[in-house]
């Protein structure tokens, strides 16, 4: 394992320190904690809290700021934060209008955030939550834990954040987050696994001529291995699965995200987007806005995911609204 780190057990804390020292104008780290809140609390609005394991940078602390989250709680690498930490975040950002938790659908995240919500509700804080499950790689079935929440989560932060900034109620913000979730689909592939510092070795093994299809964002193996293909062939395959799961009509408008996993050069992400665009255009769909870059990473994985987000007029407005955070700034 080759990384720019010091003692392995200090990886998270040193990252948190660096982050808060680098961007004091945007985020404040609650003392000695892993809770990041906006540097300037905005009173009177619905507050948004998200979080998950560390290792997904800029998610989630990178999305704290105007037009997106009010707090983010990054746990240990690839490990959900604990209920007391999320509870601290809820208490810090609530200003009476209620708090929406944006949770990615993983057993651990759901349980820890739920416990935090129970603690906050016991204090009389109004807490609602939504669970993001945009990953079409895994089958959605009543008999499983359902689909994972992956890169599409950033769109949920964006549109719910913009809605809250407008002064909408908790119910309205939750409703728009749920509409976004219903319209989001993602699927990814990887060429090289990621290495959790504390584990010291890669999360799975891939031969020189293999790739992993249907990866999640925690360095876990995907749905299956395949022989390495050219980018266009991979995109064809992922897009087929994604599109089959969406109900799009001729003329449907889409926001598109090509997300890098942390070690994927932008060069490759744009080569991927080129093919995505070609397929969408051929199918008669319209690309409304495109996001290409590292939005929801898996430490040092060389991988990528394609997210399609069907947008109506309300969602278009919210996607385009200004935002000012470490990882996402838009005018």
């Amino acid at each position: 394992m080759k990384k720019f780190i010091n003692e392995i057990e200090n990886v998270e804390i040193e990252m948190f320190e660096g982050l808060s020292l680098a961007h004091p104008d945007v985020v404040t780290r609650l003392e000695d904690s892993n809770v990041f809140v906006r540097a300037t609390k905005k009173e009177g609005k619905v507050a948004l809290v998200s979080g998950g394991g560390s290792g997904h940078e800029p998610a989630h602390a990178g999305y704290v700021g105007t037009g997106m989250l009010d707090a983010a709680v990054p746990g240990a690498v690839y490990t959900s934060p604990t209920p007391d930490q999320v509870y601290e975040a809820i208490k810090a950002v609530d200003s009476g209008a209620g708090v929406l938790l944006i949770i990615k659908n993983y057993t651990g995240d759901v349980m820890n955030f739920e416990m935090a919500a129970e603690l906050a509700q016991a204090d009389g804080i109004e807490v609602a939550s939504v669970v993001v499950n945009d990953d079409v790689a895994v089958e959605d079935s009543l008999y499983t834990t359902g689909r994972r929440g992956v890169a599409g989560t950033v769109f949920v932060h964006k549109v719910a954040g913009a809605k809250a900034e407008e002064g909408a109620s908790l119910a309205e913000v939750k409703a728009v987050a749920e509409k976004a979730i219903a319209n989001l689909r993602t699927m990814g592939a990887a060429l090289k696994p990621s290495t959790v510092p504390a584990a010291g070795k890669p999360g799975f093994e891939l031969g020189e001529n293999e790739m992993e299809i249907g990866i999640g964002i925690h360095g876990e193996p995907g749905t299956h291995k395949e022989e390495l293909q050219q980018a266009d062939v991979i995109v064809d395959h992922l897009m087929e699965v994604i599109l089959k799961d969406m109900s799009l009509d001729e003329g449907s408008e889409l926001a598109v995200m090509i997300n890098g996993s942390g070690a994927t050069p932008e060069m490759e992400l744009y080569i991927i987007f080129r093919k995505v665009y070609e397929l969408l255009e051929k199918a008669g769909f319209k690309v409304f806005k495109t996001f290409v870059g590292d939005y929801m990473t898996s430490i040092d994985m060389a991988g990528m995911s394609i997210t399609l987000f069907k947008v109506d007029d309300e969602l278009k407005k919210l996607v385009s609204a200004p935002a000012k955070t470490i990882g996402f700034t838009q005018v």
Binding site: T107, G108, F204
Partner: protein, 207 residues
């Protein structure tokens, strides 16, 4: 040895086992999960060990509650709420008790199960913690019904727990992270079931 000392000894042994098997549990989780189960459990039990002196001052129920709260606040992931809630439930059934008989131990084991089920909403056969815990409880109760002494009953529970671990290799995960793998999860041992088998073993060794 008084019951409280045995409970403390069980916590110590379990903590040691989580450090000892940290890498192995992590490797298991790398195969079908995200490769942190050993890291998570050892982080949590290390935090418990750091409170060892404080714990020794408390009564059985309170110390189990403290262990549960510590796990909830230090472990994270799926195992934090599951193990944490399990200990919290166990603490409730022994409230006020200073001695524990064989039936109390059975109640405690069932409370552990209750905690895991309340949080995780799983049943046996889903490749989870329950697949070693539930057979262990059944074996323990069977042994008690057959009038076997508590130590022997726990030895049978331990055996059943590790058989449960073996059984997890043969089934598809339908709960937790491993469920994303579907059929691909067959052939691999469940890390959570394994750590739970070590917990059962730790109780047995503490007796």
């Amino acid at each position: 040895m008084a019951a409280k000392e045995k409970v403390l000894k069980f916590i110590d042994i379990f903590g040691d086992k989580m450090q000892e098997h940290r890498q192995a549990l992590t490797d298991m989780d790398q195969a079908i999960g995200d490769g942190d189960h050993g890291i998570n459990m050892s982080r949590g039990m290390k935090a418990v060990a750091e409170k060892r002196e404080e714990l020794a001052q408390k009564n059985i129920s309170d110390l189990l509650k403290d262990v549960g709260m510590t796990l909830v606040s230090k472990v994270g992931g799926a195992s934090g709420p599951l193990y944490g809630t399990a200990f919290l439930k166990a603490s409730m059934v022994v409230k006020g008790k200073e001695e524990l008989n064989a039936q109390d131990l059975s109640d405690m084991l069932k409370a552990l199960e209750d905690g895991v089920v309340t949080r995780g909403k799983a049943t046996t056969g889903e490749k989870t913690i329950l697949d070693s815990l539930v057979p262990a409880i059944e074996a323990y109760d069977r042994a008690l019904a057959a009038q076997k002494p508590i130590k022997e009953a726990m030895q049978e529970a331990e055996k059943a727990a590790f058989e449960g671990v073996e059984y997890t290799k043969t089934i598809i995960a339908t709960k937790g992270r491993a469920s994303y793998l579907g059929e691909r999860s067959i052939g691999f041992q469940d890390p959570g079931a394994t750590s739970m088998a070590y917990l059962i073993q730790s109780i047995q060794e503490a007796l």
